[in-house]
Amino acid sequence: MVVRVKVNDGWREAEVWPGASLLTFLRDRLGLYGSKNACEQGECGSCSVWLDGNLVCSCLVLAAQAHEREVRTVEGLMADERLHPIQEAFIDAGAVQCGFCTPGFVVAVADLLQKDPTPSPATVREALSGNLCRCTGYQKILDAVSLAASRIGAGK
């Protein structure tokens, strides 16, 4: 079947088998490899994207469900070739090690800070509890969220 999706402001279409996930569509059909495949069952958040503005695990959404809808991926976060403040904060805070979980975390943090620009530590932990990281122990990810929130708040 042919699936047509608006991805990061451009309409894209590709042939997929009916059981294909949105993640497979993005990665193997569109070549958008920023969304990662780490668990295939919605446990790790590495494949986090927005579907019509809602944060989803793209491994749990069928490509067909995204037909004629709008998807935003980590590749759509940068503006004018400049890193998003959350991306900068992840680098500055040391929140990146192997980096496999990082795109999913960056998307999840962006979703959180859009909804709550000054989240409490407990809110941050709850909001990111669906994203697994095996390298950092999360402390520097929490630091990155604080740093990003303060920089965005300060208009930097």
Partner: protein
């Protein structure tokens, strides 16, 4: 000296990761992101049985399926039928027998991953099921079937130190167990094999050690090593899981057969079968001390389950046994370690590598001994702590830095986090979080400490080295340094450290790292906390050679042609152990201590770790932010082993091969980690820097479980500790 040494961005600074920008953008290419036009997808058929004879394999239906380009079995392995890091005893594809559930039996290449998966279902394998050996003590029984021709013992070593029959005033004894932990790197095992026009193959791969893969691949593929070229692809974490070969040989076989590029990428479930795990252990210890708290005699028997094939079991039990007495001085000991074969999944390298299991046991014993002597647990440890010059049970003296006392004293000096009332608390901050159905009526706090140590680099006479090539040129933008090694960045930050070293040594800001491959000499593995020492050392030596030549030519300003140099770094030689376990087995050591503060809901058996503090001996912190990242991440894996992580095996079958069922710590499980970095440069190591990846993983499990014992008063002899254990069910 004419070279201007600039320290900016050099060693000692928290320099930002050199791969940070592509990683946060989602543009960093991991092995699972590799693709080529016209590539095929590989898939693996695995044994459903832990132990069975293969009577026949019928691939005709699978091979005839549309879109399927190759179906290969043991009969198609071009060369040596087996592989392995230490002993080549693992079949590339099973021939007459399968020895664990999950063992590879056949491989398929097809147009699409789904077509490949469906082709696997069309392969008919006729098995005669055998009774598996699934318990490590059962493996030692005379009546147990021999899983390999030589029997079921991988290695036994005995360390006899002083008078093992020496008498003591006070004895304590215990049995301890640890479960089978999975490394669970988030990036799955992946690679892309591309057939070459010379009849060879290029493999783009996420691994920990390109050259060890090469040494195993070339004979199995029946190709000369120069025709098997490995290129590092992006590695999504490793922690030991990528030390052994997974899909490397299979992808190359399929590519060579189909003459098409072939990609193999495991899903999470397959990943649990596609790599080795941390050895489960069963450890008996008996500690004898004088009335005033000096250790007199330590007796230990350690048994670890190596699973179906050798992998790195000999070295893991070597570590567990040589570290069994802990970071303490003791004049007399008998330490006996055995690794066995079973029909469980193979076990091998995982962060901490044998030292984790030993620490869990000896630190529980030290707490027991402190209680028996009515001494403060830290005081008892301080009284017996190793120091520079101490002699280990192997007879090896500690030549380098050994700040065991300082690790403990740093923790002692840290204030405890203040107690919070359960009543006015956000329910998410109760043990179990939102899953806690109570109101915190039965919370009990506990504090536990543990100290331990781990060898750096390979041991027991292994000839270990790393090669680096450095080239300096000057263009319109000024001087530029290029570096090449075969060392693998797994996420630990090695590429950044190498860049810092080049800047410090050459005073050149612009540093480019070439992608590692097997065209240069081996860098050894990114494991055993060794790359900063080994590859860092090689890069330093190559830089120094380049600098000498630049100076000879009159400095960078007058450089006419690029200057380059290659150098190989070796650590000091170590030696094998004799029949009594005496020798000089380890290069050097890193020490660490952890304090855990926990809260236990005594009704529900739920745990909240309130805080972890880790004091770690790092020699010198070349990148303090990165060092803290290693301590924090290693602590998380230690917390996982203490509380939740275990591969559940029933009769050799893995019951939880998914992230739904195999739980690793989430951001809600991890407390703040306080890192106390102890810097005392280690003589003989580049910049005095010790490897930093492992000590926190060694000590945190023991500290967390000690805190749980403190909170509950229960013996808790097994990790991971389950809710049932905490409420006494």
């Amino acid at each position: 000296m004419s070279v201007n040494i600039r320290r900016q961005g050099g060693v000692g600074e928290s320099v930002k990761r050199v791969d940070g920008i592509p990683k946060v953008r989602g543009a960093f290419e991991y092995a699972s992101d590799l693709h080529r036009d016209g590539m095929l997808w590989g898939a693996t058929l695995r044994s459903p049985h832990p132990y069975a004879q293969i009577i026949s394999i019928d691939v005709s239906a699978a091979a005839a399926a549309p879109g399927v380009h190759a179906v290969l079995t043991h009969a198609d392995v071009p060369g040596k039928p087996t592989f392995g890091l230490d002993v080549q005893d693992q079949p590339v594809l099973a021939r007459e027998v399968v020895r664990y559930a999950g063992e590879a039996v056949a491989i398929v290449a097809a147009e699409d991953p789904e077509v490949a998966r469906m082709a696997l279902e069309k392969i008919g394998v006729h098995y005669k099921i055998l009774t598996p050996v699934t318990d490590m003590e059962q493996a030692l029984e005379k009546s147990a079937p021999a899983i390999h021709p030589q029997g079921n013992i991988v290695r036994t070593l005995t360390i006899v130190h002083g008078d093992p029959n020496a008498r003591a005033d006070v004895w304590v004894e215990g049995m301890y167990e640890t479960g089978m932990q999975d490394q669970a790197p988030l990036g799955p095992e992946s690679g892309l094999a591309v057939p070459a026009t010379d009849g060879g193959v290029d493999l783009f791969i996420a691994t920990q050690w390109l050259h060890a893969d090469l040494e195993q691949l070339a004979p199995c593929l029946n190709l000369p090593p120069e025709k098997v070229r490995l290129h590092l692809s992006g590695v999504g974490g490793a922690f030991g899981a990528r030390e052994d070969v997974s899909m490397q040989i299979h992808a190359c076989m399929l590519a060579l057969r189909t003459k098409r590029p072939v990609k193999m990428s495991y899903g999470r479930q397959e990943s649990f079968f596609g790599h080795v795990h941390r050895h489960p252990s069963r450890i008996w210890m008996r500690h004898g001390a004088s009335r005033d708290g000096k250790l007199v005699n330590i007796q230990a028997r350690l048994l670890v389950d190596g699973g179906a094939y050798t992998s790195t079991s000999p070295a893991v039990i070597g570590n567990a046994t040589t570290f069994a007495a802990g970071p303490y001085e003791v004049s007399n000991a008998r330490l006996v370690g055995t690794a066995v074969f079973t029909n469980n999944p193979p076990c091998g390298a995982m962060r901490g590598f044998g030292a984790v299991q030993a620490c869990f046991a000896y630190e529980a014993q030290m707490d027991k001994l402190a209680a028996a002597l009515n001494l403060d647990p830290i005081e008892l440890r301080l009284k017996n702590a190793l120091h520079s010059g101490s002699v280990l049970p192997t007879g090896q003296p500690i030549a380098g830095v050994a700040p065991v006392r300082e690790c403990l004293q740093r923790l002692q000096a840290l204030p405890l986090p203040s107690e919070e009332s359960a009543l006015d608390r956000d329910p998410m901050l109760l043990p179990g979080g939102a899953g806690n159905v109570g109101h915190g009526e039965s919370l009990k706090r506990g504090v536990g400490i543990a100290v331990g140590y781990k060898n750096l680099g390979y041991s027991e006479g292994f000839d270990d080295s790393s090669e680096a090539w450095v080239r300096v040129s000057v263009d319109n933008d000024g001087p530029r340094a290029e570096v090449k090694t075969a060392a693998v960045e797994v996420g630990q930050g090695l590429d950044t450290i190498v860049t810092q070293i080049v800047r410090s040594e050459l005073g050149i800001d612009r540093v480019t790292l070439r992608q590692p491959d097997t065209a240069i000499g081996s860098a050894g593995s990114s494991s055993a906390s060794r790359q900063t020492m080994m590859t860092g050392g090689a890069v330093q030596l190559a830089c120094q050679a380049v600098r000498t030549e630049i100076d000879r030519q009159g400095g960078l300003a007058s450089l006419r042609r690029p200057v380059e140099a290659s150098r190989v770094f070796h650590h000091r030689a170590t030696g094998k152990l004799d029949a009594n376990g005496q020798g000089d087995p380890h290069v050097t050591f890193a020490f660490g201590a952890a304090r855990a503060v926990v809260e236990v809901d005594q009704d529900l058996g739920l745990v909240r770790v309130v805080q972890l503090a880790v004091a770690q001996d790092v020699g010198r912190a070349l990148n303090p932010q990165s060092v803290m990242g290693q301590i924090e991440g290693g602590s998380a894996q230690g917390l996982g082993l203490a509380l939740m992580e275990e591969i559940a095996l029933v009769e050799g079958q893995v019951k939880n091969a998914s992230f739904t069922d195999y739980l690793i710590p989430t951001i809600l499980d991890m407390p703040p980690v306080i890192s106390e970095i102890i810097e005392e440069p280690e003589p003989g190591l580049p910049y005095g820097a010790k490897g930093v990846g492992e000590p926190s993983t060694v000590v945190v499990p023991a500290a967390v479980v000690a805190a749980l014992r403190h909170a509950t008063g229960r013996e808790l002899r097994r990790a991971p500790v389950k809710p049932d254990d905490l409420v006494g069910l």
